[in-house]
Symmetry: C2
Subunit: 237 residues, 2 copies
DNA sequence: GATTCTCATTGATCTGAGTCAAAGACTGGA
DNA sequence: TCCAGTCTTTGACTCAGATCAATGAGAATC
């Protein structure tokens, strides 16, 4: 998949024409606040596979993804990797009170972010209850997703894991791009494996099995959910 | 373990003498705000194994644990259970923007909570950036813990899981009660299994193995970390 | 269009943790 | 003190998913 997964326009540098403005943190700001906020932000692009920030880096910035997809992951000392989330446009990343990032973030395909230095951002947010509440909302949402993912990692079979991932990923894309059962998968099989707590071989076999069972069709760069009802059933129970 | 795990005094009903005041959400309030806040709260006790709130209940309240231990868990339709966290005094539970709770909370042994109705709490917090920031801080902290737990569930062996759990639980108790390598475990083996994504038999066998290896000693109602360096090594790598 | 790479798939085999079954060990109550 | 109930430990066996080892299929380079 060479083309950007989610096409987002940003000709200018302003917030006014930002594709992500309507549903990200900034949605909580009025025009006046936004103008000030704009001064704190900087657009930065990364090439495919570049690291936006790494585990143990000083956490000096927050990021708002504008375009592309990122993976967030933690590494164990011996190299085992757990992907803790995939990031889509509009998602806010890097919120932390810690001195250093607890995980790494890198680009899956080319990526553009809106970057904020932590300190000025903090000062700006300090007397903006709207923004603080919005950030709370986002943190709590993420926490809910994290808990769902714990259930998946701790208590589900390989087949359930893969089906849950596909349905969940589709639903996130539907939010951004509208309904479709074609599910682009910009991440590698290894990424999916590290997200689901499986090996690449098991992911591959499970894809094949789901295709054999008529639940999905494997396409270059993604899958098509042929029988989304059955996929959803696997994801639910 | 019959006695309360963490003894906390609360003779009166006020916040002033609340054992948890110094390190919970309320730490962010000044005396004046606290007086108002006090009016919103109500102390409620639960007997062992009583449910404080259940998955799919309307989320009408937040809770601040004052005394005892709770487990938070999610159930799959077929009864599989994943414990997503254990709650200790000072922890804030139930924060959500959703209409309904995404998980259940029940008492492990007798429990006392400080309960707030969601709506008045929200109104109160609305213009208190200090409180909002504190809540953010707590949410982000929890998110970090959740991500660590994902690594554990997805990428660690049974032995690493159990060692990590014991070290982590000890560290949380040390925060509350001061240093000790005696680790009381008020939760059952089944609880530990459902927290670590294992079966009760595997947990039991792993405890036995750690004891055989001289890393822990199994006591009634808990364990003693005999060789905490080796336990920590298992937990780290 | 041949040559590498990298990534995905498939097959054969192994193993860590699950399952099933039984025996201990506590706990609370009569 | 005995009994019933619950929780924990242990043993024997199984199996889902990991590991090891090719093979296949695109994409990138020359």
């Amino acid at each position: 998949m060479k083309t950007s997964l989610v096409a987002v326009d940003f000709h200018g540098q302003g917030c006014a024409d930002c594709a992500v403005r309507g549903f990200s943190v900034c949605a909580s700001l009025d025009q006046f606040e936004m103008r000030e906020f704009e001064q704190l932000s900087r657009r930065v692009s990364f090439a495919s596979c570049e690291t936006v920030f790494a585990q143990e880096d000083r956490s000096s910035c927050f990021y708002n993804l504008l375009d592309g997809v990122m993976r967030l992951y933690k590494l164990l000392p011996d190299g085992r990797r757990q992907i803790v989330g995939f990031v889509l446009p509009g998602d806010f990343v890097g919120m932390t009170t810690e001195e250093r990032h607890g995980f790494s973030a890198d680009a899956i395909g080319p990526v553009t972010v809106c970057q904020f230095a932590k300190l000025p951002f903090g000062r700006f947010a300090d007397d903006k209850p709207n923004l603080l509440r919005r950030m709370n909302e986002l943190a709590v949402q993420e926490l809910n997703q994290a808990r769902d993912h714990m259930v998946l990692l701790g208590r589900r079979s390989a087949e359930e894991k893969v089906a849950t991932f596909l349905v969940g990923w589709r639903d996130r894309l539907v939010e951004l791009r509208g309904p479709s059962n074609i599910v682009p998968l910009p991440m590698s099989r290894q990424d999916i494996a590290d997200y689901l707590g499986l090996t690449i071989e098991t992911v591959s076999r499970t894809f094949t099995k789901l295709e054999r069972d008529g639940i999905i069709a494997i396409l270059p760069g993604g899958v098509s959910l042929r029988d989304s009802a059955r996929a959803e059933a696997l994801a639910a129970a």
